[in-house]
C-alpha cells in the first residue's frame, strides 16, 4: 500500500515554477493591454480607433505605417494620453504590489502601502510645498513631488525606528510605530493647511489624487524608484511565503524575519513615496487589487505579486478612464473613483477576513 501511495504521491506533485503561473499572468497582461487601449482611445478629442492603432504600431522601432492622424491628434496621443496611461500603470501597479507585499510582511489582510505613515508624510511634504513654495522648481523639477517623496520616506523611516525602539522588531510594534507617526504628521499637515486658507483647494486636489498633470517628466521622475522597488519586491515572493509561518517559524527555517521585513519596508517605501509624489494619495488600490486576486484563487506570493503588479496597473488605468469621462468635461479626482469602488470591497474583506465567533 505504501508503494501505491508513494507512486500516487509523486505523480500528484504539481508542476512548480513558471509554467503554473504563466497562464494567469498572461491573462492579466491581456487585461492591462485592453485597459491601456481604452485609456488611449477615450477622451474629449475623438480619434479613430484604427488610426490610433496604426499610429502606435508606427511608434514601434523598425516599423513604419501611415496612421492618417493629424499632427494635433498625434500630439494628443503621444504627449497627453500615452504618458497619462503609462503613469497610471506605474502608480497603480506599484501601489497594488506594495499592498500585497505589506499584507504578507505584516501578516495583516488590511495592511496597505500607507501603513507606516508614507501617506501622512507625503501629505505634509506636498502641503508644505503648496503653501510655502507654490510653483517653485529645483534644477528643473517641481519642488512638490520632491518634498512629498522626502516626507513619505522620512515618515516610514521614523515609524520603523519608533516601532523598533519599542523593543523587538515584530510586525505589531512597527504597525503601532506607524500609527504614532501618521497621527502626528497628519496633525501637522492640517495645521500647515489651515494656516493659509487660500491654498486649501490645491491641497485637497493633491490629497484626492490625480493623474491630470501627467507628462513624460512625471514618468521619468518615478520610473527609477518604482522600477527598483518592484524588482526587489518581486524577488522576495518565496520569502514572503516563508514569513507567513510567523517570525519563529521563519527563524526555524533559517530566515531572519526582521531582516526580510526591513528590506521589504524599504522597497515599499521607495516605490510608494515615488508614486504618491506624482499622483497624490490614491487610496484602496493597495487593498482591493491584491484581495480581488486572492478571491480569484491565486495562492502563494510568487503568483500574487506579479498579478497584483499587472492588475493594479490595469485597475488604475480603468479608474482614471472613469475619472476623466464620468463627468466630462469636468474631471473627478481619481482617489474618489478608487475609494467608491474600494470602500465596499474593503468592507467585504473585513467582514470575511476574521472576527468570526
Amino acid at each position: 500500500m505504501r508503494t501505491a501511495a508513494t507512486a500516487a504521491g509523486a505523480g500528484a506533485v504539481p508542476a512548480r515554477g513558471l509554467a503554473r503561473r504563466a497562464a494567469p499572468i498572461a491573462l492579466a497582461v491581456a487585461a492591462l493591454a485592453a485597459a491601456a487601449l481604452c485609456g488611449l482611445l477615450a477622451g474629449p478629442a475623438g480619434m479613430p480607433a484604427g488610426g490610433v492603432m496604426r499610429e502606435l504600431v508606427d511608434g514601434l522601432p523598425l516599423v513604419e505605417m501611415e496612421s492618417g492622424l493629424s499632427p494635433t491628434e498625434r500630439a494628443i496621443l503621444w504627449e497627453l494620453r500615452l504618458p497619462r496611461v503609462v503613469l497610471g500603470a506605474l502608480v497603480g501597479g506599484t501601489l497594488a504590489l506594495a499592498g500585497a507585499a505589506y499584507q504578507g510582511v505584516f501578516l495583516n489582510p488590511l495592511a496597505d502601502p500607507y501603513l507606516l505613515g508614507v501617506a501622512a508624510g507625503a501629505g505634509l511634504g506636498a502641503t508644505a510645498a503648496i503653501v510655502y513654495a507654490p510653483g517653485v522648481e529645483v534644477a528643473g523639477v517641481a519642488v512638490l513631488p520632491l518634498l512629498a517623496f522626502a516626507g513619505g520616506a522620512v515618515a516610514a523611516a521614523a515609524a520603523y525606528l519608533v516601532g523598533r525602539s519599542a523593543g523587538g522588531r515584530s510586525a505589531t510594534t512597527l504597525i503601532l510605530g506607524g500609527v504614532a507617526v501618521a497621527s502626528f504628521l497628519t496633525a501637522v499637515q492640517a495645521f500647515v493647511q489651515q494656516s493659509r486658507t487660500d491654498s486649501v483647494r490645491d491641497v485637497y486636489d493633491w490629497i484626492l489624487g490625480r493623474l491630470a498633470t501627467a507628462g513624460w517628466s512625471d514618468v521619468a521622475l518615478v520610473l527609477p524608484y518604482v522600477g527598483v522597488a518592484a524588482a526587489v519586491i518581486l524577488l522576495h515572493g518565496r520569502l514572503l511565503d516563508v514569513l507567513s509561518l510567523g517570525d519563529e517559524g521563519s527563524e526555524a527555517l533559517g530566515v531572519r524575519a526582521a531582516r526580510v521585513r526591513l528590506v521589504l519596508v524599504a522597497a515599499v517605501t521607495l516605490g510608494t513615496a515615488a508614486a504618491v509624489a506624482v499622483s497624490g494619495l490614491i487610496g484602496f488600490v493597495g487593498i482591493i487589487v491584491p484581495h480581488a486576486i486572492r478571491l480569484l484563487g491565486a495562492t502563494g506570493h510568487r503568483l500574487l505579486l506579479p498579478l497584483s503588479l499587472v492588475g493594479g496597473a490595469a485597475f488604475l488605468i480603468a479608474a482614471d478612464l472613469v475619472a476623466r469621462t464620468a463627468l466630462a468635461p469636468a474631471e473627478l479626482p481619481i482617489g474618489v473613483v478608487t475609494a467608491m469602488v474600494g470602500a465596499p470591497v474593503f468592507a467585504f474583506v473585513l467582514r470575511s477576513s476574521g472576527f468570526r465567533t
Binding site: T6, G9, V13, L235, L239, L245, G249
Partner: protein
C-alpha cells in the same frame, strides 16, 4: 561522541529561569523523549536545540558550538515541529511542505530539481500525495500533523525535534503519527527528540526518557528506571501505578489518592 551535547544549559524567559543547569547528551540515531509537568522546560529545551532562544551554558551539534553554526546551516540539520505551528490560510499542502526546503535555497534563489525531489519524497513518505493540492485549513487534525511532519522532513534534517506531536490527536491518530516517525527514523537514520505528556506512548517509542521539572533535569535513562511511582508523585503531583508487562513494556496507570489508595474498592463508600 554524542550528536547533541548540552552542558549546564540555562535559559531565562521573561526574567524567570525556564531551564537551569541542564546537562544531557543525545546519541546519533537515538529517540529521546522529554517528559515533565507543564512549565518544566520541555519546549524551551527543544527551542534551545533549534537555536531559537539564547541562554547560558553550551550546546554542541557534532562537537561544534550551536552558536558557531549559522542559522541556515543549522536549519539544514535540525528541524523543529512546533506544538502549534502556524498553518497559513489558503496555502496548499505541497506549497507548505516545499517551505521546508527554505534553508537549502539561497536568499533570493529558487527551488532546483533536488528541492523538488525532496518535496515529492516527503509528500510520498507521509502519504500526502492525494492531499497535495488541498488547502491547509481543509485538513483534519491528523492530516495537518502529517503535513507539518512533511515540511520538517523536506528539510532533510539529521535531527527531528517534536514538541507534543500527538497532543491534539486521538489514540489511533497519535499512534499513526508516532509509527510514521519511528519508520522515518529507521529509514533515514534520524535522531529524534520529542516532548510529550503521554508517558505510556513515550515508553513505547523512545529509547530513553529525560524527566524535566522546574527547568532542571530530574532523571534520565531507560523508562523502567526513570518512571517510578515516587518520582511521578514528586514531580507531577500525581498518584500512579506503574504496571510492568511480561513483554518488558510498562504502563502508567492513574490511581485515586486517599486512605483507600491501592485497594481494589477505593473511594470512601
Amino acid at each position: 561522541m554524542s550528536l547533541l551535547t548540552l552542558r549546564e544549559v540555562a535559559v531565562d524567559l521573561g526574567g524567570r529561569p525556564a531551564l537551569a543547569g541542564v546537562t544531557l547528551g543525545v546519541e546519533r540515531g537515538e529517540w529521546l523523549a522529554l517528559i515533565g509537568p507543564n512549565g518544566a522546560g520541555k519546549s524551551t529545551l527543544l527551542r534551545a536545540l533549534a537555536g531559537l532562544c539564547r541562554g547560558r551554558g553550551a550546546i554542541e551539534l557534532d562537537g561544534a558550538p550551536l552558536r558557531s553554526v549559522g542559522r541556515r546551516a543549522l536549519a539544514r540539520r535540525v528541524a523543529l515541529v512546533d506544538q502549534s505551528p502556524t498553518l497559513p490560510e489558503g496555502m496548499t499542502v505541497s506549497d507548505y511542505v516545499a517551505l521546508g526546503r527554505t534553508p537549502h535555497i539561497p536568499y533570493l534563489g529558487r527551488e532546483g530539481p533536488q528541492d523538488r525531489r525532496a518535496v515529492a519524497d516527503a509528500l510520498a513518505a507521509l502519504e500526502l500525495g492525494p492531499l497535495a493540492r488541498r488547502r491547509l485549513e481543509t485538513l483534519s487534525g491528523g492530516e495537518r500533523q502529517r503535513a507539518v511532519l512533511g515540511r520538517a522532513l523536506a528539510q532533510s534534517p539529521e535531527v527531528l525535534l517534536l514538541d507534543e506531536p500527538t497532543t491534539a490527536l486521538d489514540l489511533g491518530r497519535a499512534q499513526l503519527v508516532l509509527e510514521l516517525v519511528a519508520h522515518l527514523r529507521k529509514e533515514r537514520g534520524l535522531t529524534v527528540v520529542s516532548a510529550t505528556h503521554d508517558l505510556t506512548l513515550a515508553v513505547v517509542y523512545a529509547d530513553r526518557l529525560a524527566l524535566l521539572s522546574g527547568g532542571r533535569l530530574a532523571a534520565e535513562g531507560p523508562a523502567a528506571e526513570v518512571l517510578t511511582e515516587d518520582r511521578l508523585l514528586r514531580h507531577y503531583g500525581v498518584h500512579v501505578r506503574i504496571v510492568h508487562d511480561p513483554a518488558g513494556g510498562l504502563a502508567v496507570m492513574p490511581a485515586r489518592p486517599g486512605p483507600a489508595f491501592g485497594t481494589a474498592a477505593g473511594g470512601s463508600a
